[in-house]
Each structure stands twice: as structure tokens, then as C-alpha cells.
């Protein structure tokens, strides 16, 4: 069975800006995924005090899930739920997603902390998931 991933970008006000699932979709789990990612936010806060790096590796575990996090300098959190450990590829995925987010933010028409609805953004994130994760 191919692995499943849940990815979310969480704004500075703790609201989700973007969500996606990669691999085998298990839609019935979506709310659980959101819950797990949200619950891990506090642990991200703790972990970032211990680290000077954006990539915080695995910050939480829940059943079969690992929760990895990446925090941008202005405290936008990238959260990934994954089953297998693969730190290097997850780091690569986060770094490229950060760059995509930065491009979105620098667009004068984007309001910070607003949901990212552009189809192009989703397409690019899906492509990064195929490149690094699947």
C-alpha cells in the first residue's frame, strides 16, 4: 500500500491556509488529520524554542502518524502527517513549499493569513509531493 500524507499550512493566527492529502486518500480521516495537526501546534511552539532551524523534524506522534513541522521566520507553520520516516525528503519538501508560500505572500494581491485558493499553488504542492514524498 502506498503511503498517505496530510499536509497543512497554518497561519500566524492558527487558522489553516492550505490543506492537502497525498497518496491514498482516506477522506473519512480528514477531520482526524486536522485535529492531529492542530493538536501538535503547541508542541511546535515548544520545539522551536529548542531549535534555531526552520525544520523541526518530528514534533509529535499519534497512533501510526508522525507529525513533522517546519516554521517560517514569521511563524507560519508547515505541518506534515506521515507514516514513514524520511527526514531528508521531508526537509526538501518543506523547504520548497516554504518557497512557494513566500512567492504567494510576496504577491501584492495576497492578504497574509488568508486561505491560499489559487489552483496553481495546489498544482505545485502536489508536484512537490510527487517529487519528494510519493
Amino acid at each position: 500500500m502506498s503511503p498517505t500524507f496530510y499536509f497543512a499550512i497554518v497561519g500566524t493566527n492558527d487558522s489553516p491556509l492550505y490543506e492537502a492529502e497525498f497518496g491514498v486518500r482516506r477522506d473519512e480521516n480528514k477531520h482526524l488529520n486536522q485535529f492531529i495537526a492542530h493538536a501538535a501546534l503547541d508542541l511546535v511552539d515548544d520545539a522551536q524554542f529548542m531549535s534555531n532551524s526552520c525544520y523541526l523534524k518530528t514534533v509529535d506522534r499519534y497512533n501510526e502518524w508522525n507529525v513533522s513541522a517546519y516554521v517560517t521566520p514569521s511563524n507560519v507553520r508547515l505541518m506534515l502527517l506521515h507514516e514513514n520516516k524520511a527526514e531528508d525528503s521531508i526537509k526538501g519538501f518543506f523547504t520548497d513549499c516554504h518557497e512557494l508560500y513566500l512567492k504567494t505572500l510576496l504577491n501584492p494581491f495576497y492578504e497574509p493569513n488568508a486561505p491560499i485558493q489559487a489552483q496553481a499553488f495546489d498544482t505545485k504542492v502536489q508536484a512537490l509531493a510527487r517529487k519528494y514524498l510519493l
Partner: protein
Amino acid sequence: MSADSRTTARLMSALSLDGGNAVEGRQISESALEFLLPELVNTVISTTVETKRIAARLSLGLDPEEEPQEDTTDDSTRSDSTTMASGWTELPEDSEVLEQVYVKLETIGFRVGRRLAERYAPVNRRLTDTLDIVKFVCKDMWMVLFNRQVDNLKTNHRGIYVLQDNKFKWFLRMSSNHGGAAAARRAQPYTWLPCGIIRGVLDSFGVNAVVSPETLGLPQCTFQIKVVSNE
């Protein structure tokens, strides 16, 4: 090439990023910015006056477009701004309009600050302490904005920080032509934009603050940051 892939290619070339690290980007002439700023201020003033007039006429049930008298006032504002050699505009007397001009310029600055912060924030050194964040404004941000650092930073260690720039760049061209209180008044809007930028940068790092300017004599300028407790 599809429109989307063109956009991507364009953005990729604009944004030479290395894992979030901003590298030396595109350069333009400093005078491009020096020409833009006064006209930006003029535009915000004149559009605020105009939209207020349109709103007033709409509320009276009148056609906002048909008012020949206003057109002449609009033209005179415009020729004012173009005939003055330095390009500085007189501020509107209407305090309500002036307040709106302040809010708009501050908002424009805030949006700029949010972007600059994420663009230039260090990725290998996390800024969590407010003093560190303020220092980032004084050093790194001021370099991006004005090619210099602030001259002096004072704090009472209770949430108030005062940044002092003795040669505030956006005042330099101004102070030679005009002096005294009139110049200080005319200079005001040029501090509202950086106030917004500072607030935007601080906000990016989760620091909620009020930023206010003070000018004792051009070209000196201070910015007071008052941290607002989130609790």
C-alpha cells in the same frame, strides 16, 4: 508555453532564493523610489479627497461624475503637485481626510513590512525575543529600506522602544528647501509609511505594537514602538 508556466518561470527568476535565504536581488535606481514616494503620497491624498466627494454626492442621490466645479479643484490640486519643484503636496486641512490618508499610508506600509519581514528574516537564527526583533528592524530592515542603520535605539525594558534616525533619508531632499513647522507638517506623511512598515515587520514576528513618529527638526526622525500586550 502555458500562461501558468510562464508565470512560474517569471516568479522563479524574480525570486532567487536559496532555501529561504534572500540573496542579493534585483537593483534599480534610487531615484525611481525618490520619484515614486512623493507621487504616492499625492495620489493617496487626492484619491481620498475624490472618493470622499463621490461618496458625499452618492449619499445625496447625485451623479458623482457630473460636477464641473470639483473637476477644477481636482485640476488645481494636481497642478500644485506638479508645479512645486520638489513635488511635495500641501496636506488637506480636513482632519477626517487627513486621518484617512494616515490610515491608508500606514496600511500600505504595513503590507510592505509583512513582505519584507518574511523575505529578509534570518532562517538560521530564530527571532523570538522582542528586543531581538526590534534590533532586526534597526539593522537589517533599515539597511534594506534606507541603506543605513538607525543611529540610536533606546528602550525602557517595559515594551517601549525608540528608534532614532538622525538623517532620515526621505527627509533629506525636503529639509534643504523648506524649514520650520511647515516643513515638519508636510513631512508627516513620509513617516506614516515607515511606521506601517515597522508595524508590519513586528506583526510578522507576532509582536503587536503601535508605532508613532516624532520629528523635532528635519532631517531627524524618531519612531516610537509601543508593544501592545496580547493578553
